[in-house]
Amino acid sequence: MANTHSGRTTLHGTSVVGKRLLALLSAHYIYILLVVFWIAASVASPYFRMMSTFSNIITSAVPISLIGFGQTLVVLSRGFDLSVGAVASMATAVASVTMVKGIIPSIILVLIFAVIIGAINGFGITKLRIDPFIMTLCMMFFLTGINQLIRPSPGGYIPDDFKGLLLYQVGDFPLTSFLILVVAAAVGFVILQKRKFGREIYAIGGEPEYARMSGINTDQTRVKVYIVSAVAAALGGLFIAARIGSGNAEAGASYLFDSFTTVFMGGTLVTGGVGGYSGTLGAALIISSIGRILQFLGINIWYHFIVKGVLLASVAGFQLYFARKGRRSG
């Protein structure tokens, strides 16, 4: 996969086969980490070797990776989207209220809402020049208020058809979840590596001013990025709704942290312009495996918060540390 990591390395160093291989490995270190992690966990715990565990990891990685998809694009374009968790909650709340009337119209309604939210975010950030942090933070709280009004207490109705389709399993293998991950990976690869849109995102993240001067309509691209982010978060929210079988105004909140952790752990730089979706996807699998292991060890749910917070801070910190070090030596 022509990742920007390898592109950068060949720019600086002499392009030798060995160096390219090393670059490829460093670009996909997350999958090596994942395999090592899985082996260690299966040695440590007999439960981890069961198929149902694997299936559970895949299923819970779906919302993380979908929400992480949008966040990857946003971070690549030098932005931040703090509203993804609230958008996912909005999706569960709206779905739980409207799915009585029909599944397809409800999904369309959720996606329309997501597009509107993303467009407002993008408009505020590009046209009104509001800082992405503050714009999406306000959007997050605004939506939290709305969600509380739509669904004051968890509940509502999610049809069995919808749940059955999204959680369809062959034996113990979660077929739909697996397909969603594969499709997300393919879409991420095509958008970021093959399409003009993706190239523009990298250009804006790398150097916004140069991107603008070279004729890219940066405002339009950034608005699109925030729309994609909101839509991806809403899709993740729909999957969450199928999993928990109801609507919950706070179901998506914790996914905000997960989205940042996956993006940074996957090697997308906080400063934008470097990274890709394959890393995020691998990190999503790692995050959901960590959750499973903590569960097997019988650890209190509140320790998950501490682990997640420490992970997020350290991932973001060390990533930049290593990036600076690499730039200095390379």
Binding site: G124, I134, T144, L312
Partner: protein, 319 residues
């Protein structure tokens, strides 16, 4: 010349803020008779003291070009830890321990932001979840411990019918007003906020200032938590608005800073504006409550206010 212009416009803005405050108070007093009595005004100050001190902390951070999403969590954890430590009956040592804890959390935030260059939102967000986890792991969610009588009498006490803790808030605001206006440290905070690169080039120790600012923010948040402990006696933290413990307080503090006209990008503004911002916002909340609208509406109002104020200011800046 530019600085003089800016200074003049800054005074004009404070006057506008005061006018807005008077207007809102007039509306509120028409809606509810008895609003403009001495007793009620001091009550408004009293109720919003904790909120005011948190906003003061947030002002310092935002002036330096940062953002601290963990103030609300530090506030709650200081309250809970204080309650647990004060069961033995000692006041001073637990209070100092809480303040120290707040400062240390702030230093961790600041060090990660200044040294490791973690984006401030990411770092303080992570701190918020960590503290949420720590709070529930250590205390199981509230209803434990109790404030000592000394702290209770301090938090609920009045001098000349004026609440003591509101006096603390006002004194802190005055103190930081002068620190920001007069001392080199205050100037450096604002220089850092308005142009970090230029500040570094002109020999300001950017990292040290950043760490100090986050430390002060943690310290003030812990202080607010202690004052609240004396008021609530046995605290029950509310895990509201999804994101983490104290997230709604943090958002309120940002809203108060922004409504006061402190530039979100840093450098311009001050604690006197935040003081007025806190009052305006709190009276707006009470109008909302009088109109029968619940907490959800407050959260939404915060979002709308911040966005519209920041939007208007950024438009004015580009012109």
């Amino acid at each position: 010349m530019i600085s003089k212009l800016r200074l003049q416009s800054s005074y004009a803005e404070v006057v506008i803020l005061i006018l807005a405050l008077v207007l809102i108070m007039a509306v509120a007093s028409i809606a509810t008779p008895g609003f403009l009595t001495y007793k009620h005004i001091t009550m408004v100050l009293y109720v919003n003291t904790m909120f005011g001190i948190l906003s003061l902390a947030q002002t310092l951070v935002i002036l330096s070009g940062g953002l601290d999403l963990s103030v609300g969590s530090i506030y709650w954890i200081s309250t809970m830890v204080g309650a647990l430590l004060m069961v033995k009956g000692n006041t001073l040592v637990p209070a100092l321990a809480c303040l120290l804890m707040g400062a240390v959390i702030g230093i961790i935030n600041g060090a990660a932001i200044a040294k490791l260059k973690v984006p401030h939102v990411v770092m303080t967000l992570a701190m918020m979840i960590i503290l949420t986890g720590v709070l529930y792991v250590t205390t199981g969610g509230g209803g434990h411990g109790r404030a000592t009588e000394l702290l209770i009498s301090f938090s609920t006490g009045r001098i000349f019918e004026f609440p003591i803790i509101s006096l603390v808030w006002i004194l802190l605001s005055v103190l930081f007003y002068f620190i920001l206006k007069i001392t080199p440290f205050g100037w450096r905070i604002r220089a850092l906020g308005s142009n970090p690169v230029a500040s570094r080039c002109s020999g300001i120790q950017v990292q040290r200032i950043q760490i100090t600012v986050y430390m002060l923010s943690g310290l003030l948040a812990a202080l607010a938590g202690l004052l609240y402990l004396g008021w609530a006696r046995t605290p029950y933290p509310t895990f509201q608005s999804g994101a983490g413990i104290g997230a709604d307080l943090t958002l309120k503090s940002i809203a108060a800073v922004v409504i006061g006209g402190t530039l979100f990008s840093g450098g311009r503004g001050g604690v006197e504006r935040t003081f007025l911002g806190v009052l305006i916002l709190s009276i707006l909340y009470s109008i909302l409550i009088m109109a029968g609208l619940g907490v959800e509406w407050q959260i939404m109002l915060n979002g709308i206010i911040i966005i519209s104020v920041v939007g208007v200011y950024s438009q004015a800046k580009t012109r």
